[in-house]
Amino acid sequence: MDKKNKVGIFIVDDNKVFSLALKSEIEVAFKDVCRIEVQAFETGEACMKKFKEEKPQIAILDYHLNSKNVNAADGIQVLDMIKKANKDTNVIILTSDDNIDIALKSFHHAASDYVVKTETKFKKINYSLFNLIKVSEARDEAKTYKSVSLVLSVLIALVIGAVIAITIIKPSLLK
């Protein structure tokens, strides 16, 4: 993986013990893989304040974000806010409920993955992050290649155009 580009990851969970453990776990697991910066927030509202200026590549959201503060936005509402602010941010939804309806709802709202908080949750999250980072890098490379090939095509077209123009206007220059 690319060690030059920094991968921004936002964690939004109202359980501080959990989010701190997840943040530390990701930092330890990806230490030698790529450059990452993980930030944790207790509410979606706090996350969105920072989101607009940083536009992280990945956001990990708890589905039950309003369990402690009933007036706070829930995970799906924050997912919608994130997608509205930057559709390229990949979102992983976390929940303790192994419920197909929550999974379908998450994907319907454009989540990239859905992880149930079982005993192996951290491994599953890391696996999901690894895949999302690889996909994101591949997408960036494809964009770069697309731009490079576009520039090359334009240059070649210009050269051909110039040669044709010279051939017509002043063929003596080519001799």
């Binding site: 013990v17 453990a21 530390s24 330890v28 303790s96």
Partner: protein, 125 residues
């Protein structure tokens, strides 16, 4: 010493092996999580106690739900079935007496966990 639901004697309610492995043995990270646990668990217990007094099933359900994640990080696995039962009872808004009974078990184990974390935290300084 206490016993779990199967009657097995438990010496320590916390199992820090999982947390230590997860953090790659990094003491400052482990200590940071322990500090958060020591602040958060009493707050969550208080919220559950208050909700029980007010017979507010929705708050009991939300806090027992969130507590499952907090206690699992510190390996207090014997609390998971207790919290699960409390959450299920609260979700169906019934049997406050059973919830009160389970809450006593929850409070006792949480206090033991807090004592253990306070004691073990010294090893991670």
């Amino acid at each position: 010493m206490i016993t779990d639901r199967s009657g097995k004697v438990i010496e320590n309610v916390c199992d820090l092996k999982y947390l230590t492995e997860m953090m790659g043995g990094k003491k400052h990270l482990i200590k940071g999580i322990m500090d958060s646990f020591l602040v958060q668990i009493p707050e969550e217990l208080k919220a559950i106690n208050d909700a029980i007094l007010q017979v507010n099933y929705s708050v009991i359900k939300n806090f027992t739900h969130t507590m499952k994640s907090s206690v699992s990080i510190l390996g207090v696995s014997m609390l998971i079935p207790v919290l699960k039962e409390m959450e299920e009872l609260a979700a169906s808004a019934m049997n406050i007496e059973k919830i009160k009974e389970l809450n006593q078990e929850l409070t006792l184990i949480c206090h033991l966990a807090i004592e253990e974390v306070l004691r073990d935290k010294e090893k991670f300084i």
